[in-house]
Symmetry: D2
Subunit: 505 residues, 4 copies
């Protein structure tokens, strides 16, 4: 027996196969930074900085700023550098300040002074703005993609569970009968707005600042539109001053979007936290997605859900930092905003695993449908529907019926469910002639028939839920195509640009 393993994960390490994989994924997700170090921010930008240099090389070569010979040697050097980077042989030297100087220096050591000439008309202001936009746009696209996978799963499960009744809550108090399928579709509807929002953020991010130099343009003849196209941007961020000073806006836009999204994530988390409590036991989380305790052998803690709520708070704070940083600045670049880089990267690191984790959690979740259904029988979930039904049948004003039902509820508190006789007594006592028939009472007695009576568009009635599923499924498919098309276009542009570089040889 390995003392090490025995020590630190006494209970929850005994999974195998798929469960083991899942557990490892969950542990990594929850781990945080206790024993993990964070890489330098610019390590994430090496690919992007090489790409930006490629675009610059092509533009300067085309404009004749670089001679054929210089272009050729720079092309060779960039191809080599990319090769080194991709095979893990290029890493950043901390003494060289940032990725831009590191890349420049790597080129210089190969081609000498021509490396300096590659920086004609360029400033670190537009370089970093460009690299970051390239980096973030990829994160955005893949995050939307991950999310759409989760929505697909929820829609599948909603179809299965559209008849699974449980209490719906308002104010943490039981309110109406609803279904698990309807809950899932509610998540989907909210998250689809997040996808919409995210797409807007993508469109605002995928604009090219390159060529703005320090914010005031340059006298070097750079073709900004062509450079933008070479990098797969949708358009040029024309005004050079704004192109540079809007750098922090990219992260702020993302953090705003994520702040709302993370609140949607936190709602799902809180539903799972509540419904898996001993006092509910409506859902049972797979053991491999839960965490044990170092001293309580019985524990199956929903750490992943708590961590997601914590992450929501983290993102809110990052947004607050970003907004505060930019407030009150005059025109021009200011170093205050340098923190947008780690804030933006930390943000993605914290949130990007959430959709996958939810796929693992929902994919392995067990519902206790029996307990859920039993729970619909306490708490007078049917009270409002009795009132509606009587109002409809009798023509009495709802408010009067409401009063009678209220009294009947008070009378039945001990047993926990409305009886026909209690209701009829209350109607009588208040001087109304209408009485509830046995047939009507029967229809109000089962959670399923209560749900079936809910007729409006978008309600938990299984037929209505099915409509929602179909409509949202179509939307999800539409988004998937759009994201896929865009991703492919970016990849094609990458290949094309690299081919152009090869053509310089």
């Amino acid at each position: 027996m390995n003392a090490k393993i025995r020590t630190h994960s006494p209970v929850w390490a005994h999974g195998t196969g798929k469960a083991k994989e899942v557990r490892e994924r969950i542990v990594a997700f929850c781990a945080g930074r206790d024993v993990t170090s964070l890489a330098p921010c610019d390590e994430a930008l090496i690919h992007q900085d090489i790409s930006t240099n490629e675009a610059a090389l092509l533009a300067l070569a085309k404009a004749g700023v670089l001679s054929k010979k210089e272009s050729r040697s720079l092309a060779r050097a960039l191809i080599d550098l990319r090769g080194q980077f991709e095979s893990g042989k290029f890493s950043l030297d901390p003494e060289l300040e940032d990725v831009h100087i590191n890349v420049e220096q790597a080129l210089r050591s190969t081609v000498g002074d021509a490396a300096g000439r590659l920086h004609s008309g360029r400033s670190r202001n537009d370089q970093v703005a460009c690299d970051l936009r390239l980096w973030h746009r990829d994160r955005i696209l893949s995050h939307i993609e991950e999310t759409l996978e989760l929505l697909t799963l929820w829609l599948e499960q909603a179809e299965v569970e559209k008849g699974t009744v449980l209490p719906g809550f308002t104010h943490h108090q039981r309110a109406f009968v609803t279904t698990w399928g309807h809950n899932l579709v509610a998540y989907v509807q909210a998250w689809l707005r997040d996808v919409e929002r995210g797409w807007g953020v993508f469109e605002r991010t995928n604009r090219s600042p390159i060529g703005a130099a320090a914010g005031f343009g340059t006298s070097w003849p750079l073709d900004r539109e062509w450079m933008a196209d070479l990098l797969g941007f949708d358009s040029v961020l024309e005004n050079s001053a704004d192109a540079v000073s809007s750098r922090i806006e990219v992260e702020t836009d993302i953090a705003s979007w994520m702040s709302i999204w993370m609140n949607h994530c936190s709602l799902v988390a809180q539903d799972l936290v509540l419904f898996s409590m001993e006092e509910f036991k409506w859902v049972r989380l797979a053991v491999e997605v839960t965490t044990g305790s170092s001293i309580m052998p019985q524990k199956r803690n929903p750490d992943f859900a708590e961590v997601i709520k914590g992450k929501a708070s983290l993102v809110h704070g990052s947004l607050a930092s970003l907004l505060s940083m930019a407030k009150g600045q005059p025109s021009g670049y200011h170093r205050d905003s340098q923190y947008s880089k780690p804030l933006g990267q930390d943000l993605w690191r914290e949130v990007e695993g959430v959709p996958e984790v939810y796929r693992l959690v929902f994919g392995s979740l067990k519902l206790d449908r029996k307990r859920m259904k039993e729970a619909t029988k306490g708490g007078f979930l049917e009270a409002a529907e009795w009132a509606d039904s009587i109002a409809r049948e009798s023509g009495l004003p709802f408010r009067d019926v409401y009063t009678c039902i209220g009294q009947a509820v008070d009378h039945c508190r001990k047993t926990g469910a409305l009886t026909r006789s209690a209701v009829n007594d209350a109607l009588k006592k208040n001087g109304f002639e209408h009485r509830v028939s046995a047939a009507t009472a029967k229809k109000l007695a089962s959670p399923e028939s209560l749900i079936a009576g809910r007729s409006t568009l978008g309600s938990p009635n299984p037929k209505r839920v099915q409509e929602q599923i179909e409509s949202f499924r179509a939307t999800v498919v539409g988004w998937k195509k759009k994201v896929d098309r865009t991703t492919k276009r970016m990849e094609r542009k990458d290949r094309e640009r690299q081919r152009e570089i090869e053509n310089l040889l």
Copy 2:
């Protein structure tokens, strides 16, 4: 002499005509809540609540839930109520909790129990969600409209000032020559993204929650799609649970949008604060937009600009509150989120005057073009362009030229401007053969020729600024048409709905 006026506004009350109007507008904008009370939140929602009741009446009448007679008397009562409201005769009774109960009670006092029957299938949860969406969508549209007016003004001024040179800054230090026109276009480019963002918010806001009831639909046969159309919504927020719990998201979405926008506003404010300081005097604010001091007779304080920066912080805090409120909630409505109503309304009250105030400020601003131009001659704004020019002419690597220019700058610190001889000395001292010709030096000597040399798309070169102006002008016009079309559609829907109500008579 009126002692009262003399007392409280000794210096800054002597305006007349247009200036007086402007001053009053500015004073009101800056006033805050010192001696102004705030109306109850629901007072703003009376029109919207009557509209929602109209839609409900039409739907319940069509479904046969209400008899012809009931429909007729309710139609009459609603027409009367709207009339009273529009003529200022309807106000809220604080003992009746909220606008919904106030309206219900007003109807009840006219038509009796039918007023209660008008609430079949409705909950305050979907009513308030609906009223608020109607209210906010109008604010959004008119805010965008106001903004577009300002952008139009800035583009006009940019055209006039595209040749007005002044120093451009980075790190609060003079960096490059730029133009006032380019600054203005930078504002426009940023604000156009805000308009884009705002339109996304509008689209997400203009969806109908009505018919979602308490979040679980209803057994009353309400046609949600028709109700949505009657109220001018673009679509139905289908899933009933999300329709209700997304209520706070409307305000959060707006606050996110506004938070970034207000930062753009704060940038303009800070530019004006700086450039109007005694130490700059590049812009001169009209006396009527400034504020005096109670003890310093010489003061012309840019209070409006400071207030705008303060408002930015206010909005950031509101966003933080809204995000924190929703975090960690499980499914269903929770009263925590009731504060979204005052937060959302306060937010609009604080920000909605900003575009108009900027129109007043920029409309009356005086530029001191001479001082601006003089300022371009200190601080070595031309240094980087000398370096670029020499690198281009000589073929030397930029980094080496940079070093020479750096030394020449050090040498010329006393006089404050680069001389050809200092530069040539530095080139010589570093062992380079290239020398700057008199012709080249001349081109680098005037701020206008420096600017004219900036050739890239989006740069401050007046030709490039003109391109930007034309492109943005077309975008502004496009948005104006879109907003106008939408506003008109809303108004038409309002009239149509009211006509349908009249048809019930």
Copy 3:
């Protein structure tokens, strides 16, 4: 039957006597701003502004700046004005900008130009700073007082409930047996830190800025130390620049303090929300502190608790606004910070009722001790204590015992409680010789004996809880005396100052 009452509060209006009073208090607490307007901020400062004027009059009279005659007439005018204000006859004229000009104008209308001379050496900068410090210091003291009342109640209840067992949670999962009394004492311990923090805030608030003028002192011979003393300040905020620019720090300090306190409040709220859910029913909120629903007659919603959580988010956002507002300002007063006034006042309005509401809620709460105790028997709350006990008796390492107990728990999941035989089987299976005796098993079988076994200082063992109660009670009494003494000193200073004014007659 009153149609009005029937309409808007169908269920929850039937209380009488004490319950009715409580309900009205709760309804007011939850009401928010829907149908309530907010008074102008400066209305709250009239008393303070008159006091500040009194101090100024005394200082100027003593310095001989005002003649005896002027002093006499100003003294008479101030006495009259205070009289009018106290009898409700003085209100603010919105055209006179703020409370300072209103008061000045009121004096001017009585005494003419001498009112102007009363402003020698004074600026609105130090006047408002002074008024606000006076206002906030009173709020702080009375808030601490209210809080101490609540802590007294909790300590009383803790003494009664120190033996009332229920499950303690970590990660929302049952962890260990604890007691209701221990929970209450945990609240007290946290809130006592809040009192400490609040006292620090009081000390920093109760310093006098008066005489700092616009931030640069004055040439008028004002005795700042005497003025501070006349107003009951502890000391003078000496440096005049900081005295003025620290104005926003008062509110920020309060908001920081309150932000943590409100989180403590939100913890209590969430405990009540959870424990009163249908799925728990461990506590039963009195009907008069809950709220009904407009369509669900069965509802007893814990709105007050949700509102408290919402208020926590409000306060957090206010703090964010205040911090962001002050960030990046250079020395000197800036109007950005004017929003500190409404933010500070709104903050108090939102939080000041919380301690009283908790007194009402806890004063009327019913515990279901039976259900609480039953709940200690599921969820293997005893598991860790079995492990501890076996480790202690056997000398085996805790980690090994933990493993055995973990296996026994898995074996007993169906029945929900550990059995001696399952544990002994696990010990055997893992090759350990130790066995749990019947006597030991018995000691681990009851929640009361588990609790009694917890021996450490501060644990839920009733004897230990009693120690905590006694220690905290002494602390509470100590604070009460301190607050009381301070409040009385302030009141005495008020009287003394007014007497000095009378002496001028």
Copy 4:
């Protein structure tokens, strides 16, 4: 010439000696995370975790839970471990989750099962809470110490510069003559409040949670008071539930304190940013504390000041995260709050260098006293003092004099300074008989005499500034002694505890 150095720091690397050291310190301060990785959080806690284990060993040995033999071998193992750690030979294994398991495992590999027995009665909940409090209390003390060094420097400089006149601002507009010495003393007054606040935070932090176990105490006979004393805590955090759940409050308390402090830091930063602009040139930052530009050879950017403002925003966001995280949690530990660890550590990493950087910056700052003084002659800084003086001499009401001076200011706008004749004309025009004598005018003509006329306590009058300096110097010395005494006590406790461990051998 080294190509590497030439490349990345073309201008600003040529310092030597002290200047070079300063530059390296500044570069490191500004560097951020671009090319720097962050260590795992728990690496910072190794010393603390060993200390906590030492206390536990002593307590368990004393209670007889551990045999003499076990105690001896554990003592030896802990001494070895500390030795390894101090000589850099102990580092964390990421597979072992956290520092606690790493330390436990290191002991286990030496002493076997006894390592497990050392964890009797301990949970990671109280261990981490204890380690963090130990870590933070040291940060707090050394941060206060660093700060007091800076305040000492400012007071020295204030003494030198108490007669150095410059314009004082309100609303970014020149207001009154003030002095650089007065500015510095204003900083000191604000920062002394921060020291006060920090001391309160220290007192609340230096309380011992150890022995609280998972929040519910333990049945192992641990002497919590002794353990607290062994670790240098001031007292025991008695209630075990609060001892554990208040963990996040430590960081929140620190972040609140730091948020206000950082705003004070940002004020100093903004003063330096403004006053070092080309348009002011009142202060000249030493070249070694500024940063150059990659393309503009003339730049001397105040990056350190911008970075400090950015850090302020970072800290504000961290506070928002911490507050939001804790909001709405019920009793008990929840994993949401795990992020308090990196937030708390990042916060210190960001802020702890600020006092030192300000010492370097102020230590090398050059004032341009001539330009400062010249600036006092524009902008009518003397206007209010003319008004005061006339009001005093003439007995006219201030408001009337204010009006006259306002008119005179308008008349003199061209020349930029008030003339006696313009003032006398205005007095005459308004019908007043008083005239300003030549003698009076002379007294108002020099900035020094204006300042000398400012008589109130705390004003910029050099005599008054001297009083402030003396009073604050005494306060600083008092704090230094207190901090020093406390630091020494901690160190003594560390030695004593380690000696007790040696006694076990």
